[in-house]
């Protein structure tokens, strides 16, 4: 059997699909926080592994773009490597690990520690775009709740947390209100990252491939994490500094060092950590000279 050679378009996705996705993105930007349905395509990754983010990136990416891909804050985690290689293979675009150099940053679960700038686009891989999903499993219902601006369910859930635990027990995918109107799931980034969304100079695009939804936070938009006057939103805070670069006020990963409870805490953002560490070493050399 003679196998025909298969060739793919630049960026893998065909141009018609890219145009469709761009239109959806424009609508998403026009209605901040609103989940716009889109005809999500298959991509050569399994569903749930970033197919939404990949479609957004594939539709956005151009020759002048510099792409950074992170997963859990790091450029070197396996899925980030896999997606970066995929785009290099199908679009031969320049890639980087440096947050400041990137024009497009595809991410899963983190927002970089280095402040984002105007003109940068964050692309999030979203597993469950609907913030009300675990309170109401039906899409037909949740869409109505959004239409009616009826978010009582979520407030009751947060209130119940307080009644039961004394504080809100939501640690990631912490719900936000975007532009004073739509309740939005910021994807499973830790609530630590939520404040970075408020009035951010970058464009934040969220793609849920399996669930077929795209939504957005345009630059300089109000993003308010839910809370109560007496129980305001409280993001995570870490007591110790990073064991490698000494940074404080950053998100840390716990690295288990032995089986006796020993642990180290290091930056989850590997690029940020490496830069700080390099800076430290430089300063250290300066002192020794």
């Amino acid at each position: 059997m003679n196998s025909a050679k298969i060739e793919y378009n630049i960026g893998y996705i065909d141009e018609q699909t890219k145009r469709m996705i761009r239109r959806v993105m424009l609508k998403a930007v026009a209605i901040p926080g609103f989940q716009v349905p889109f005809a999500s395509r298959e991509v050569p990754l399994p569903r749930g592994w970033g197919t939404g983010g990949v479609q957004l990136t594939a539709s956005l990416i151009g020759k002048s773009d510099v792409l950074k891909v992170i997963d859990q804050g790091s450029d070197d985690t396996t899925n980030a490597v896999s997606i970066r290689k995929f785009f290099h293979r199908v679009s031969s675009v320049e890639t980087t690990t440096d947050t400041t150099q990137a024009t497009l940053i595809q991410t899963r679960h983190r927002i970089p520690e280095t402040p984002l700038q105007e003109g940068q686009i964050m692309v999030y891989q979203v597993p469950l775009p609907e913030p009300l999903r675990f309170l109401e499993p039906r899409e037909t219902e949740t869409r109505q709740l959004h239409a009616l601006n009826e978010y009582g369910l979520m407030y009751v859930k947060l209130y119940e947390d307080i009644a039961k635990y004394g504080h809100i027990a939501k640690t990631y995918d912490y719900p936000v209100i975007v532009n004073g109107r739509y309740l939005m799931a910021p994807s499973p980034t830790p609530s630590f990252d939520n404040p970075k969304l408020h009035q951010s100079p970058a464009l934040h695009l969220y793609g849920a491939g399996r669930e077929k939804r795209i939504y957005a936070i345009p630059p300089y938009t109000d993003v308010e994490s839910l809370g109560f006057e007496d129980y305001p939103f409280e993001p995570q805070a870490f007591e110790e500094p990073c064991a490698i670069c000494g940074s404080t006020g950053v998100y840390l990963d716990q690295i288990i060092t032995d089986d006796k409870g020993g642990a180290l805490y290091v930056c989850s953002d590997s690029d940020y950590c490496a830069n700080k560490f390099a800076q430290l070493s430089k300063e250290g050399e300066g002192v020794s000279e």
């Binding site: 065909d14 395509r41 569903r47 899963r108 679960h109 980034t189 060092t257």
Partner: protein, 365 residues
């Protein structure tokens, strides 16, 4: 000093090399070729074509080999290729009553116009492991020559006597069908969209749901009205030509379930139906599909609807094996950022619990 785990790139490359080695198996055994899969494992090939929504035996065969027999993975491959193909239009509706059936049975009548034809089936085989021999494939002609006999669909026979609901309401505008691969799902779906979702739905999931309707979770009193397998012509009406041109033949399996309906205040008692149509030989899938299709029509007949198989959003949003497998398996991806956030919370809760307990003990003393 501990340095965070690095080397994802190298690890991936090595893992893929190992995967390829595993797939090659014993080098002394010849490689399986795609055409061997397509021609000798036609049922497996059909499943990949169905759930991959692409009628191409060769590609399905290639996908099965590339995936080392992992069907869901093969379906994913086929879909990822299919989605890059341009869609240039709709074919004319295929006419399954005109197909010269390779197999055609009805469980509702002992004899039917055109006769029953068993065809290639595992039914009535003894499920004993045997060695295949060339002698097995010689066919004794039973004498009946069905090639030129008209075999009208059972549902058309019942329909003409008004015992069965018609194909569609009259007058019929024949709306353009939905395309669930090009439009996002919105509930409630049209029946055409729903049938597409079922046709590319996971065989095992539909089997279980169909089975559940037989066990009381949304009973639809089904009879296998007719099952037929055969090749049909696909025709395309190219606007610049003004008439339909044949594109080729495809093998399909069609199942029409005939179901009881006791009537409602504005409809008389009548048989209703569930429909299943799939590529290739995939009879179990076609039957399951028609059971679920009928169960999902509960609202149309004012039937009580509280079983899982009757819940459109539940069935259609969980039937796709590519979506389901991907999302379940994504749990393998690192989640340590969120896990860290949860650890934080649990530690805090434990600490608060400890403090509260200590306070209570003090009060007790």
């Amino acid at each position: 000093m501990y340095v965070a785990v690095k080397g994802g790139e190298k690890a991936i490359a090595n893992a893929h090399a190992l995967l390829a080695k595993e797939g090659r198996g014993n080098p002394a055994v010849p490689r399986v070729e795609a055409d061997a899969i397509a021609s000798q494992l036609p049922v497996l090939t059909s499943r990949v074509m169905n759930e991959g929504s692409l009628y191409d035996r060769e590609l399905a065969g290639r996908a099965i080999i590339q995936c080392q027999g992992d069907v869901v993975e093969a379906i994913t491959l086929v879909r990822a290729y299919r989605t890059t193909l341009p869609r240039f239009g709709y074919s004319e509706p295929i006419d399954t009553s005109a197909l010269p059936p390779q197999r055609r049975i009805s469980a509702t009548f002992k004899d039917v116009p055109g006769g029953q034809q068993l065809g290639a089936t595992f039914d009535y085989t003894h499920r004993l492991l045997t060695e295949p021999t060339e002698a097995d494939i010689s066919i004794e002609n039973g004498g009946a020559d069905t090639a030129h006999v008209d075999q009208p669909r059972i549902t058309d026979i019942l329909g003409s006597a008004a015992l069965l609901e018609p194909d569609h309401e009259e007058p019929w505008s024949d709306p353009e069908p939905a395309d669930i691969t090009r439009e996002p799902a919105e509930y409630p779906m049209s029946r055409a969209a729903r049938l597409q979702g079922l046709a590319r739905g996971d065989e095992g999931f539909l089997l279980a749901l169909g089975y559940s309707t037989q066990r009381g979770f949304g009973n639809t009193h089904p009879f296998a009205g007719e099952i037929r397998v055969g090749e049909v012509m696909v025709e395309f009406d190219a606007p610049e030509l003004g008439f339909a041109v044949p594109l080729g033949r495809i093998e399909v399996t069609e199942c029409q379930m005939v179901n009881q309906f006791m009537g409602s205040h504005d409809k008389p008692a009548q048989f209703t139906r569930g429909y299943g149509l799939v590529f290739g030989r995939a009879e179990r899938k076609a039957m399951s599909m028609s059971l679920v299709d009928r169960a999902l029509r509960a609202d149309e007949f004012d039937e009580q609807s509280d079983a899982p198989a009757q819940d459109e959003e539940f069935v259609l949003s969980h039937a796709d094996c590519v979506q389901a497998a991907g999302f379940v398996e994504h749990l393998k991806l690192p989640h340590y950022v969120d896990f860290q956030a949860e650890l934080h919370l649990v530690r805090k809760l434990q600490q608060e619990f400890g403090e509260q307990h200590a306070d209570e003990q003090e009060v007790d003393q």
